[in-house]
């Protein structure tokens, strides 16, 4: 019998929830790193054994922990992600936290990528034990300009995220920066090109849409069933990109106008490239970034974004001002697909029927930053 494991990262530690293929009863393993800020806890799908945790605390610098026994013991990285030391007299950057972890291609066991805040791209070739800057972007003057400053990022710092490896080609990579746009490499990170055509920028300020600095992709996903199709939840809408085109199409225009197409997170169907789910946020006036009207819902598309359907059965009908962050919604590979999301108010929700009905599987957790699902 298969099991589903959920890796739940929070502002105060990490938990692992596990269930059987019926996804009815969940066993909880945790807390791990109680009191530590865990931005991302990821199980390596290549060996289904290695867990990496991106950790920091309110006081201490950032690091990466590694476990091969489901968190019974953890080994700290001997060399966590860190920027190069600046020459004497110059100001250098320091990693505030590792935000994103991505296992590399299946043909590259032990290789991982990491995205940091402020924006930096790092790589490990030894299963997360040591990390080094990857490619030249961390110190590239043009990229540094696009990355902006602390003022240009999310409230807890600008981030490099959504590091994606094409399952057909380990040298074909994507990543996103909040802010700083979407970027693609076809040569294993030797060179990068900007991929922001079609993406909108915040209106009314005269921002140049051709400048990556003004773009804020929140979450980019590549279709497991069709690596030529990507979806994106952006600060300015929901998009789809069908390669070889370089132009994103704003499919969020088809969302109900009273809900809009602002949000942080997005997850995709493992076998159907026309199906995706988003969790809309209120992006009006002061940007509350909560469920519009206090009525939370997932919205699903089954036709590549041409139409969207509200999926809120089982959720509160009013006065539920939820926020779901960009790493905090995911799907499993069962049939029907299981969907999962965690709220900043510490609730973990699931649907075992592709969003038709939702139920809460955990409450009273700390602020949830990330939820990752894997079928074992």
């Amino acid at each position: 019998m298969t099991t589903v494991a959920l890796m739940v990262s929070t502002r105060k530690g990490a938990w692992i929830f596990q269930t059987d293929s019926n996804r009815a009863a969940w066993k909880v393993n945790g807390p791990h790193f109680l009191g530590h800020i865990i931005n991302h806890l990821v199980l390596d799908p290549r060996d289904r054994t290695t867990l990496l945790a991106a950790a920091s605390t309110g006081h201490l610098g950032p690091t990466i922990f590694r476990s091969t026994n489901w968190g019974q013991t953890w080994e700290e990285a001997a060399k966590p992600p860190a920027f190069a030391q600046a020459p004497e007299g110059q100001n250098g950057r320091s990693v505030k936290h590792t935000f994103w972890l991505t296992p590399a291609h299946g043909n590259e066991p032990d290789v991982w990528y990491a995205g940091t805040s402020p924006q930096g791209l790092f790589r490990s070739a030894d299963g997360g034990r040591t990390w080094a800057a990857f490619s030249s972007i961390n110190d590239d003057l043009k990229y540094r300009e696009w990355m902006g400053s602390e003022k240009d990022g999310t409230p807890d710092g600008p981030k490099l995220h959504s590091i994606i490896v094409d399952p057909r080609n380990p040298k074909h990579l994507y990543f996103g920066m909040s802010g700083g746009g979407v970027h693609e490499s076809l040569d294993g990170g030797e060179t990068w090109r900007v991929l922001i055509s079609g993406m909108d920028v915040v209106e009314g300020f005269g921002f140049d849409a051709t400048n990556p600095m003004f773009h804020d992709p929140h979450c980019i996903r590549l279709c497991p069933s069709n690596p030529d199709r990507l979806y994106q939840q952006n600060h300015c809408g929901i998009y789809r990109l069908d390669r070889p085109s370089d132009t994103w199409v704003r499919i969020g225009k088809n969302m109900p106008s009273e809900v809009g197409d602002i949000g942080f997170t997005m997850t995709l169907h493992p076998r159907d490239d026309n199906t995706a789910w988003v969790f809309p946020m209120d992006g009006t006036q002061v940007w509350p970034r909560t469920s519009p009207g206090g009525k939370p819902a997932v919205y699903a598309t089954h036709d590549g974004g041409a139409t969207w359907q509200r999926r809120d059965a089982g959720m509160p009908k009013e006065q539920a001002w939820w926020t779901v962050k960009r790493q905090a919604m995911c799907s499993d590979s069962h049939d029907p697909v299981g969907l999962y999301f965690g709220t900043t108010s510490g609730e973990l929700w699931m649907s075992r029927d592709e969003g038709q009905y939702w139920e809460c599987i955990a409450q009273h957790l700390p602020e949830i930053y990330a939820v990752e699902a894997i079928v074992l």
Binding site: T57, H59, L60, G61, E76, A82, Q85, S94
Partner: protein
């Protein structure tokens, strides 16, 4: 010399007071890292700055400069700032 360790770093040292030596504050911290791998980067960033919520006191005086000379009988106290929530 004696180095006092804050609770957030006890997972490295296992003790709230440890011995370390060095001619400068930076060397003392290097020595701590040799004894307790990883501890230095949790306190000092890659630009060799004391992290925002860490304070280091040498004989009761706040120290930010890693080249500060240290005498064998000095006392080094590492403190986690009262912050967060």
């Amino acid at each position: 010399m004696k180095v006092l360790i804050p609770s957030a770093l006890l997972s490295y040292t296992g003790a709230s007071q440890v011995d370390a030596s060095g001619a400068t504050l930076g060397e003392v911290l290097d020595e701590l890292d040799r004894q307790y791998p990883g501890i230095r980067f949790r306190m000092i960033d890659e630009q060799q700055q004391v992290r925002r919520h860490i304070r280091v006191f040498v004989n009761g005086v706040s120290a930010e400069n890693l080249s500060l000379p240290i005498q064998p009988d000095d006392q080094v106290v590492i403190v986690q700032a009262l912050s967060g929530g």
